[in-house]
């Protein structure tokens, strides 16, 4: 019988107690999330690796009363922000690059097979415009969008990650959607 899977927080406690294997398990569990997050911001695998090294070096500072995922994303975010400041690089991987990479790898479009080709094309164009509108947002707003819609986090977890309150994040999300709709509309009008 397999032992029940330990929670992230239990793994952190084990890591603090000197169990190195716990770190390997955490890396296994979160490497895809963290790599994706770092690629969004700095296109840099090194930052993902460094995030886990920081988890190790800062393990004693982890507050077991808090959730692990927002904490590690907060570390990744801070490392990416430092890197952006260092390189003066403010860039999110564009959807086009991701989508073309995916198409090359999987050999298929990522739309639902039930959609007609016309609808698929219209939706793809709409998303490409929305993606461009996303790039006009300020850094913090973009992060909130990434965490909420791409990483599918709750407002409460986002608040822990970006160092804000749940209320402020919810308010911010409403504002961002309003702003995006306005800019998205402007993109549509131009086209």
């Amino acid at each position: 019988v397999n032992a029940p899977e330990r929670s992230d927080e239990q793994l952190m406690a084990a890591l603090c107690g000197g169990e190195r294997r716990a770190l390997a398990e955490l890396v296994q569990r979160y490497q895809n999330d963290i790599l994706r997050f770092c690629l969004h911001y700095v296109r840099d695998v090194e930052r993902a690796k460094e995030t886990f090294v920081r988890v190790y070096t800062a393990r004693k500072r982890f507050d077991p009363a808090r959730k692990f995922r927002p904490w590690i994303l907060c570390i990744a975010r801070n490392l990416c922000l430092n890197e952006i400041k260092r390189k003066k690089l403010v860039h999110m991987e564009s959807l086009e690059e991701y989508a073309s990479a995916a198409r090359m790898e999987t050999g298929e479009l990522l739309n639902s097979a039930a959609d007609s080709p016309d609808l698929q094309l219209a939706a793809a164009e709409r998303r490409a415009m929305l993606d461009r509108a996303l790039n006009t947002l300020d850094e913090e707003s973009r992060q909130i969008v990434v965490l909420r819609f791409f990483e599918r986090m709750s407002a409460r977890d986002i608040a822990q990650t970006v160092g804000s309150t749940e209320g402020a994040v919810r308010t911010r999300l409403h504002r961002i959607l309003k702003l995006l709709r306005k800019r998205f509309q402007a993109c549509r009008d131009i086209l």
């Binding site: 890396v27 939706a123 959607l177």
Partner: protein, 507 residues
């Protein structure tokens, strides 16, 4: 399909945004199929949410698979080896240092004996600590393009902020704002005045304690909703709960409060804020901000909010008019006192001990307002940048100047340190962009120096203030409940800045 009203759709959208609940948006989509009006109002937003989800899904699918375990473990092993090496080196260094110290002590002893009869052997006073001086690092950091005088002023500013950050730990930092849930062993209703006081004392040296205070002073959405809709809850407590109710529920509570208290500018201002977050309600929000401004003529803040709404509506002329009206008022404030009073009522209604709730609301007063104020400044500066990018640098300058002025008005009018801190931060943000814009418009950046120097003074004032406040909380009479009740009352009624001054130890 259950037919939904507009309010229910707003609530569902809010739930979906806050908690990623797919069923909420599915229900809205079903309702939109049946109702043209709803489709017109929510169709675009819902489609955008779905598109964002799809973009996220595509990115997740397209991201390369990670295999970091080996690399991370190797790096960690390297870190451990380095640490072990450092520890060993430190031990060697410690022995060497001890040996050198022994030799020096011996030499000093011999030297003193030789000079015992010398007339120059009187002890000297220690040199007083320089309040703020630029360090070589900050000189390096300052922009090389700046003229020297501007550069020096900016260095002073950076140093002053560093002192404020490091010495007072008073800024709403990440930990301060980490309001997730009331974690920890303590039951909310068991919290005592003593607990709050001890946590505040710990907060002097521990940011996490400050975060816990904010958590204790917060309500979860479900708790706030229960207060807002429950029977027998006072209007004050309902208003207090509204700050934790985003979306339509918050709007509902505040609309009812405005009906009952039409002359209360705080409530009116709160309702305007809620409306400003709602798609398509900008004009309604402006009307409420105008009424708030009419009720409180000494506060310029509503006019800046109006300007933001107008800029969002692309009505630049009306925005500049609002900014011009704001410029004619000397002071601004964000009602942290009123918010704390209502917050304490809500905490008591939720079951917290009254004295604990009062002190808790007092010690975290201004935290939310700090965030709201700096958000407002960021948005105005963003609009300014948009104007600049579109070639209208003159109008951008007016918007940046306005943000800077709001900062000064807050410093002049705020009774709460966190509001004043927001004023300082927004002036710094504005100075950053003004310094870049001035040369392009043929203006002399040196004219910004007096403002920068004023800012340094204000930062130093605040730094001293926070030191005094920490002394009060660490050395005040711990057992004297009446004293702390009076402290809480003074903060809520007159502001924390007045508290230190009223105790006769103002900086």
């Amino acid at each position: 399909v259950t037919k939904l009203g507009k309010r229910e759709c707003e609530e569902l959208l809010d739930t979906y945004l806050a908690e990623d609940q797919a069923h909420a948006i599915t229900r809205i989509e079903a309702a939109l199929q049946e109702d043209d009006e709803l489709r017109k109002e929510f169709g675009g937003l819902v489609e955008m949410c779905r598109d964002l989800e799809e973009i996220g899904r595509q990115r997740r699918a397209a991201a390369p698979p990670a295999d970091l375990v080996g690399a991370v473990m190797a790096a960690v092993d390297g870190t451990r080896r380095t640490q072990a090496h450092k520890r060993s080196a430190l031990r060697r260094l410690a022995w060497a240092a001890a040996a050198i110290a022994a030799v020096l002590l011996l030499s000093w002893f011999v030297f003193l004996r030789e000079r015992t009869d010398s007339p120059d052997s009187a002890p000297r006073l220690a040199k007083p600590r320089e309040p703020v001086a630029p360090t070589p690092e900050s000189v390096e950091d300052a922009g090389s393009e700046s003229v020297p005088a501007v550069r020096t002023a900016r260095q002073m500013l950076a140093e002053a902020m560093k002192h404020l950050d490091e010495q007072t730990r008073a800024r709403p930092s990440q930990q301060d704002q980490a309001v997730d849930e009331r974690t920890g062993p303590r039951d909310f209703t068991d919290l005592t005045l003593q607990d709050v006081l001890e946590e505040r004392q710990r907060a002097v040296a521990d940011d996490r304690a400050r975060g816990r205070l904010v958590r204790w002073a917060s309500l979860r959405w479900d708790e706030a909703r229960e207060l807002a809709t429950g029977p027998g809850i006072s209007l004050d407590a309902r208003i207090g709960s509204s700050r934790y109710l985003q979306g339509p529920m918050g709007e509902y509570v505040l609309t009812a409060a405005v009906t009952e208290r039409p002359g209360d500018p705080y409530v009116r201002y709160g309702l305007a804020d809620r409306l400003s977050e709602k798609a398509g309600a900008g004009t309604e929000a402006i009307a409420q901000y105008e009424q708030a401004a009419a009720l409180d003529s000494g506060n310029s803040l509503p006019y800046y909010e109006i300007a933001r709404e107008r800029l969002e509506q692309n009505d630049v002329a009306a925005a500049l008019e609002a900014l011009s009206t704001a410029a004619g008022i000397d002071t601004a404030y964000a009602y942290s006192g009123e918010a704390s009073r209502y917050q304490a009522e809500a905490l008591v209604a939720r079951g917290m001990d009254s004295a604990a709730a009062q002190l808790l609301a007092a010690v975290v007063a201004g935290t939310e307002e700090y965030l709201e104020l700096t958000d407002l400044a960021s948005e105005l500066l963003d609009y300014g940048a948009e104007l600049d990018q579109s070639g209208d640098a003159e109008t951008a300058l007016q918007v940046y100047d306005a943000v800077s002025r709001l900062g000064m008005q807050l410093v002049a009018g705020a009774a709460f340190s966190r509001e004043r801190l927001a004023g300082i931060d927004m002036q710094r943000m504005a100075l950053d962009v003004l310094e870049q814009l001035y040369p392009r418009l043929g203006l002399d950046p040196e004219t910004l120096i007096p403002q920068t120097e004023d800012l340094v003074d204000n930062i130093l004032y605040l730094r001293d203030f926070y030191n005094q406040l920490d002394v009060l909380f660490t050395e005040g009479p711990v057992e004297d409940a009446a004293f702390w009740a009076s402290v809480a009352n003074t903060i809520i009624e007159s502001g924390d800045l007045a508290l230190v001054e009223s105790l006769g130890s103002g900086p």
